[in-house]
């Protein structure tokens, strides 16, 4: 757990505006500072280049691309994250990424809070 009072910063990558906005509101209410939401991998990468990031939630399919490159970057920088997808199968080729935690839409606030507690806060502590 991060020290009390320190900002926890979470990146949201999601190509649907309304879902991105809702995640942002929910996460802010859970006490996170939200980076994004970013609709594309390139937007996400440009945020990551500028800002410190403690955790991330990644939609898998971003219209014309996937969030794989962002996931790679986060893995390499030991930033915990999980995938959130509306598809039944995961379009990710990298077997390492296939091992990452995956949640399916729709996900309510309680589900979101649980997933964050399980994967992202713990990840930060580690």
């Amino acid at each position: 757990m991060s020290p009390e009072g320190e900002e926890k910063r979470i990146l949201v990558v999601e190509d649907a505006f309304l879902i991105g906005m809702d995640l942002k509101i929910s996460l802010e209410q859970l006490g996170w500072v939200v980076l994004g939401p970013a609709p594309s991998a390139s937007r996400a990468m440009s945020i990551l280049e500028r800002e410190a990031c403690d955790a991330a939630i990644l939609d898998v399919n971003l219209g014309r691309e996937t969030s794989e490159s962002v996931a790679d970057y986060l893995t390499n920088h030991h930033v915990p994250y999980f995938f959130l997808t509306g598809y039944d199968s995961l379009n990710i080729k990298d077997p390492a990424l296939q091992q990452m935690p995956l949640y399916r839409k729709p996900m309510n606030r309680e589900g979101l809070a649980d997933a964050i507690k399980k994967h992202l806060d713990n990840g930060k502590a580690a």
């Binding site: 190509d15 649907a16 505006f17 309304l18 879902i19 991105g20 906005m21 809702d22 995640l23 509101i25 929910s26 209410q29 939401p37 609709p39 399919n61 219209g63 014309r64 691309e65 996937t66 509306g86 598809y87 039944d88 379009n91 080729k93 399916r104 839409k105 729709p106 996900m107 309510n108 606030r109």
Partner: protein, 488 residues
């Protein structure tokens, strides 16, 4: 007929009479399956057997001594016949003599009879006679016509039909060789049948490399099973991939030849349809889950409020109704593109119902919207409409909305320019300082999802919303971008 057993000669100087008397020759002539007519040098009938009677409808007694030409030769050939006979009598030469020719005869009823005619000439005593053997070709011609007709159907199928046929023969050395392939292969795969028959184009080189081995195994299996079918991909003459279903059957002929009769069907379109269907199912599933996620989010927002206002429920209900409406409109078009004015009319129609005495005016060229952009656009327009009904062009002080669009920058980067201009009398009652969620959506959704720009101005005359969206994003087909991903 009285002087039995003898041929009578012309030297008797009597009227022409039958040459054949009742003896072996007579019997033979009568029993001939072909018609036999004997004609003398003057062109008169001297003998006319039973078959000839049946063939032409005259009795022997009637025709003996009559001019042959006037009886059984069609009008247009009478003259040639008479000339030919005269010519032969002078020179001893005739083009018909000693030949087998096909010609029409004339039945007593006027019906034409197709015939094979063989005429020989010889001396009988001192008299020259011509012996004609005639075979009725009516049935044979009818059979041939039937064969020709069937053949023309087969030709049509082989040239214009959708299925390619081929024949492969097993040679004595056990090797197989393509003997024939129907010319419609040209339409389906772009190859000339002749080039394939001559092995200038090798089947092996056209099969998709990944499919070659399993296809060869399937072909070998046919020899064991006697028949079978299998699917594979072929690279056609345009280097495009075509899906093929091939069917083969082994045929053992009585003469010992072993052949394979086969057919090729192009399944490419069906395959594409199948792929699109899978994609559609996947995208719809995704979309439904996204919509549920959005609804959950909207409900969450309401639940988090300290006290629930009727207004919040109305907003929630309006957003869900808008999602349902767009879903319905797009589903009615099988999740294909939709005309922009249709889309706006549906969304605005729902608004105009609420406030029936104001105008929503549309102007713009026919323009198709892809499904993804249609969803985004409809959500934004619905939000604009909800606001307009409360504060703007559709409210009590509203005087309507003008919605116009055009495509700009065709030579560089084509952009769809769409504007929504509200008219109100007096000052609008909108609080421009407040940035509610609805306004965030109106401002943010198009840039976020379609990479467009949005400009909102609160003019005294009413709100003006102007957006510019790249045409390719505007018209992208359902899941177009995700197509490659789902192929993985």
């Amino acid at each position: 007929m009285t002087d039995k057993g003898h041929f009578k000669s012309r030297e008797d100087g009597v009227d022409p009479e039958p040459l054949v008397q009742e003896d072996l020759a007579t019997v033979v002539v009568r029993c001939l399956l072909d018609a036999m007519i004997i004609m003398d040098a003057e062109g008169r009938v001297r003998e006319f057997n039973k078959r000839a009677e049946e063939m032409f409808g005259y009795r022997r007694e009637e025709v003996i001594g009559q001019e042959l030409a006037s009886l059984i030769i069609p009008d247009e050939m009478k003259e040639a016949h008479r000339r030919g006979l005269g010519h032969f009598n002078k020179t001893g030469e005739g083009p018909v003599i000693g030949q087998r020719i096909t010609i029409d005869g004339l039945h007593r009823s006027g019906r034409r009879v197709p015939l094979e005619l063989a005429v020989t000439s010889q001396m009988f005593g001192s008299e020259r006679i011509f012996v004609a053997i005639l075979r009725d070709l009516t049935e044979q011609m009818a059979r041939q016509a039937e064969l020709d007709r069937v053949r023309s159907y087969l030709d049509d199928v082989a040239i214009n039909g959708p299925t390619v046929f081929f024949v492969i023969r097993q040679e004595d050395d056990g090797e197989t060789k393509l003997r024939w392939i129907s010319p419609n292969i040209k339409q389906i795969l772009g190859f000339e049948a002749g080039d394939i028959e001559s092995e200038k184009i090798q089947w092996r080189d056209c099969v998709h490399p990944e499919d070659l081995e399993p296809t060869i195994r399937a072909i070998e299996q046919i020899w064991t099973d006697g028949k079978g079918d299998f699917e594979y991909r072929i690279i056609d003459s345009n280097q495009e991939i075509r899906w093929i279903r091939e069917a083969r059957r082994v045929v053992y002929a009585n003469d010992g030849t072993v052949e394979i009769i086969g057919s090729l069907e192009d399944l490419t379109l069906a395959h594409r349809g199948h792929q699109r269907e899978q994609l559609l199912r996947r995208e719809l599933d995704h979309r439904v889950k996204n919509n549920l996620q959005i609804i959950l989010g909207e409900c969450g927002k309401v639940m988090r409020s300290d006290h629930i206002e009727r207004n919040q429920i109305e907003v929630l209900s309006s957003r869900i109704a808008s999602m349902a409406l767009v879903h319905q409109v797009l589903a009615a078009r099988s999740w294909g593109p939709i005309d922009l004015s249709d889309l706006i009319r549906h969304v605005a129609g729902a608004m105009a119902d609420a406030s029936s005495d104001v105008d929503v005016e549309l102007s713009g060229e026919p323009l198709m919207v892809g499904v993804d952009a249609a969803m985004t656009l409809a959500t934004v327009l619905n939000e604009l409409g909800t606001n307009a009904a409360k504060y703007g062009g559709l409210s009590t002080c509203g005087q309507g909305i003008a919605i116009g669009w055009r495509v700009e920058g065709m030579e560089t980067t084509p952009m769809v320019h769409l504007e929504w201009i509200e008219r109100v009398d007096g000052q609008g009652i909108r609080n421009t300082g407040e940035m509610g969620f609805g306004m965030q959506l109106i401002e943010g959704m198009i840039p976020y999802e379609l990479g467009g720009e949005v400009e909102i101005d609160f003019e005294p005359s009413g709100l003006q919303f102007i957006t510019r969206i790249p045409l390719d994003r505007f018209q992208a087909d359902l899941g177009e971008a995700r197509m490659n991903l789902s192929d993985e």
